[in-house]
Subunit: 146 residues, 2 copies
């Protein structure tokens, strides 16, 4: 569905948001451990997210990552276009550059409502709404042993 960078970014951002609610600013190694992502890789990903303006960071003792409280919630479609650049479900499943009702691929008609549902999902859900869901319902961001 999503690539690895997007997956780690999603889990990482949600983890950071949850910690921010507890007045904490986690650093890269904490995030890596808690979401089970490769430490150096998540460091690079979080760095990019800061550059994109999704996150803020502080260096030095007590530093770490946090959300700017003044900024609006981040719909995950925005995250995805930052990490994957617009592609994905927006395109044609057959790879036609211009697949629409005028020049449909043979899957077009049945694929359109699915794409629409997906786009609705990633437009409506935000990092914050997902974090809230994790918090309220006690969900996990990693594998759990039962």
């Amino acid at each position: 569905m999503f690539n690895k960078e997007t997956e780690y970014a999603l889990r990482g951002l949600i983890y950071i948001k949850l910690q921010n609610l507890k007045e904490r600013r986690p650093g890269t190694s904490e995030v890596a451990k808690e979401i089970e992502a490769p430490p150096f890789f998540i460091a690079k990903i979080l760095q990019r997210l800061v550059r994109f303006g999704f996150l803020k960071s502080l260096k030095g003792k007590g530093g770490g990552f946090f959300f700017d409280p003044d900024k609006p919630d981040i719909p995950i479609i925005k995250l995805i276009s930052a990490t994957e650049g617009n592609r994905s479900f927006s395109g044609c499943s057959f790879g036609l550059k211009q697949c629409d009702s005028n020049n449909p691929c043979p899957l077009h008609e049945k694929y359109v409502p699915i794409k629409e549902a997906l786009n609705k999902l990633i437009t409506e859900e935000t990092i914050q709404s997902l974090a809230e869901k994790v918090y309220k319902e006690g969900l996990s961001l990693i594998e759990v042993m039962k």
Copy 2:
């Protein structure tokens, strides 16, 4: 949505099926040209599809690719698992190895019906049903100038 190999395979198989209906057995360069795929790459892909048993081929003059008329239709989910190995929409959008109603990711609940629709689509549609649609509705497998 799908990777390049799957896209080319889909378009290529449908093109071959359409030609078979006209008692023709297209070769790699014809397929490449007609579906706008890289010639050497589609050659390799068709080779693999023959090995997988989706297609038959004949070498030498008058040779080319064709479907065994005795074999059942090929649901595109079978093609996809051959070219991409089961992954895709079957997994969790968050990358959790075990994401289900017991241990759901925060997108799980809303993503499940979408996955189900996708799986229904690729289970019900076959190379042959898509070829028929292309034939009956005069669809194109490449870009068209209007």
